[in-house]
Structure formats: C-alpha cells, structure tokens
Symmetry: C2
Subunit: 214 residues, 2 copies
DNA sequence: AAGGTTTTGTCAAAAATTTATCAATACATT
DNA sequence: AATGTATTGATAAATTTTTGACAAAACCTT
C-alpha cells in the first residue's frame, strides 16, 4: 500500500470518478463517506472501492468511512490537480476551438498555453484565451514554456504527423482525440479519448440488445 | 467462437481500432493483414489480435493472414457502422456545437437528428445541419423519430437531470461527456468519454514519471 | 464501561484478460 | 510433388482484476 508503488491502470481510470464525487460531497457539507456509499454512487462494489483506496496514503475509520476532505486532497495530489499543467492544442477546428473555449480546464489544473493550426487563415484569431499560432511555431513555443501535455485535435490523416511534432518538441504526454492509433516512443504516454469509438461501442450495445432473446 | 455469443468488453473497446486500421489498409490496396502486422500497428500482441478476432465470423488463412475487405465488413457489421443511428445532442455549448458541426459522424453511421438546449437565446440557431430546439421538445421529437443514442454535453450539474430526460424519452444508449457519473436503469447503456478524466490520467502519468528513479 | 453494530483493511478466492506455445495448415519454392 | 516456412486457431499458462469473507477497529447506546 502507500503511494510510492505502482497503481494498477484500472484503478487510475477510476480515480477521477472518485474525485468528482467526493468533491461534490464535500461541497455539500458531507464530511464522511463510506466505501459502500461511494460504490453505490459510482456503480462499483464496496470491495473495489476499498481496494482502490488502499493504494493511497489515507486511512478510513471504522463505522464512519473516509473523510471527504482528506480523500479529496489525496486524490487531487495523485491526479496532479493541484499543480498547473501547460497544455497545447493542435488543431483549431470545431473540436480544438471548443476545448480552448471550455472554461473548466483552468479550474482543474490545465492551462491552455497554445492553440496551433496549419491553416494560415486561422492564425491570429482568438478562441477563449488562446490565439491561434502556426504549427511551425510549436518548437519555438516549446522553448519558451515547458509543454506538459499536447492534445491532438486534427483529422486522423494528420494525427501521426502531429504526434511526431509533439514528441520532437519534448512533450511527454499526449491526449489523442483523432480517430487513429498513433505511435510514439515508449517514454511518451498516450491516452485516447475518441468520441467516435465510444459511439461505436454504444452502437454495438444497441445491436446486441436488438438481437437479444429476452 | 462465432458472433452469437457475448464478446468481452475489452475486446469491444479494441474493435473500433481494428476497424480504422483495416479500413486504411484496404484503402491503400493492401489485401491481406497478419495478426502480427495489426498488432504492431496498434500496440498489441499478435496473440491478443487472434484471440479477439476469434470472436468474430471470419477465418484467417495460414501464411497470409486476414483478408482486409472481409475483416472490415465483419467489423462494420458488429459495430453497426452500416446502419444509420439517430443521435441527439443535449447541450449546445461549445462542445455540443462542435459535435453538431463535425462532419465525420454521418460517414460512420451516426446522424444528428436533434440538438437541444435549455437556453432560450440559442433556440432556432443552426449548427451544422442541426437547429437548436428547446429541451422541452425532446419528448415530442422522440415521438417523431426513434432516438438511438443521446449525447450528454451539458455542465456536470445538469447531467443527471438530462440523463433522466433521455431515459424517459426511451433512449437506450447514452454517451456521457459530462464530468460526472450518471445513474440510469440497467437496461440503458452508458459510455463515458470524458476529456477531463483523460487529462487527469495523463497528469498522473506525468507525476509518476517525475518521481521515477530511473 | 460494557456490549452491540457498522465499516474498515487485508487476505484469499474467483473471475476475467492477456500472453505463450505449438500442432495443423496452406502457401511458396524448387 | 516434395520440402520448407510463415501464420493461423486452439489450448493452456500466466497475469491481472474483481469480488468475497472476516477479524480488528472504532463508534454509539445504554
């Protein structure tokens, strides 16, 4: 237990869910939350919740559960919500712009410090707090501020190319929104968040249901 | 084997990746793909690929692999990419609009047949092919066309409420883009695609890397 | 302060998923 | 046609993840 060791990936993927829920509880004035309560709210079992939380630096108390403020603090710390991350968005199309204009990032520790596009006509325009820069200025910008995370919001045909530019610029974490798998060196972390894939997953579920006998 | 049985969830999540890659190969004129080739392109092992494909109605051939056109067809069929799904988007903020204006959905079997918002000032405006309707018209619209999928693109505070409206309107599949877990009856499928969570996952990876000894 | 009760933390079992292995197969080459 | 080789499909092993179970802990009530 305790936070120095490696936390399994399925657990990591659940941590943001815990954080949102616990934060809400704390804001409502709820001071304690049991593993069962958390499990019910998130569609898990209490056993899973306790197992997950055992990876972290905190102890619950019998008969009360976990202290929401403490749990929130620990989760924020693990998920890096307390330190500011510098994020660049590549692609100022509909999706890239929507992200740049989305106010919630700053509140969660993600500061948009660059919005890039290939299209000359877009350069200089502003979305949210970000002004569109030429993709060729990416390397230069990387020299000025350390870029923590790059978001790929370009058409899938350009995704791999953009990924390589980000890697060259020294970016070690990439969020890929393009509908295409990208290949990067093993020291770079990629997380996919593809709306199209999620929709296809739903379409599969619908097909399954339609065919079901019961 | 064979498609009547239940396909494990991790497999389902990989299928869209296979589809994208195989489609690309086929368009490039590549007629055969081995499990090893597919694995390399997608960062998997050949064993996993063969295991995954064994759930489907298709046979590879020794020494050649899988026929790309056949594989693509089978994947499209399983993922429902050949039939049109009716999709509504709730929330005409930046993200909802970006999705409505995103042209790629129609090509993949998802037709936006409604864009709803609570804000009276937005009603009547058009984004992409969709005109914003009042959220109160959702039930009415559901009576006219069968809504297959609902996309929740509202602030997290409204997510649960919107989810319930969708359920009442008879929607059986929901894509939740809000940063909050939603609760629905067990006959409704929910898939989360939360950009914020993905970013937090990356932030965790960055923190881990910073602390690593090697 | 003693007893009852709820909930944790941990260990072990069960289930699910991934990976390794290898005989069978089908193609290519000679 | 015979031989060699690459690749599948299937089975089994290994690993990972989830769930179950229960003693220990801590609170509440009397």
């Amino acid at each position: 237990m305790h936070s120095s060791e490696q936390i399994p990936h399925p657990v990591i993927r659940r941590l943001p869910k815990y954080l949102v829920h616990v934060q809400e509880l704390r804001e409502e004035g709820v001071e304690w939350a049991s593993s069962q309560e958390i499990a019910d709210a998130l569609g898990l079992t209490s056993s899973t919740v306790r197992q997950d939380l055992s990876h972290m630096d905190l102890r619950g108390i019998s008969k009360k559960g976990y202290e929401t403020s403490q749990l929130e603090a620990v989760l924020r710390q693990i998920l890096g919500a307390d330190i500011m991350h510098h994020v660049v968005i590549i692609g100022a199309g509909h999706l890239g712009r929507a992200l740049a204009e989305h106010g919630a990032f700053a509140r969660r520790g993600f500061e948009i410090c660059g919005l890039f596009d290939r299209d000359e006509d877009l350069i200089g325009k502003s979305f949210g707090n970000a002004e569109v820069m030429s993709i060729h200025e990416l390397a230069e910008q990387a020299g000025k501020v350390k870029i923590d995370i790059g978001i790929i919001a370009v058409p899938s045909s350009a995704a791999q190319n953009v990924a390589e530019m980000l890697v060259e610029a020294g970016v070690k974490a990439i969020l890929n929104l393009a509908y295409k798998h990208i290949q990067v060196p093993s020291n770079v972390t990629v997380v996919d968040a593809r709306i199209m894939e999620s929709l296809q997953e739903l379409a599969y579920a619908l097909g399954k249901k339609g065919k079901a006998v019961n």
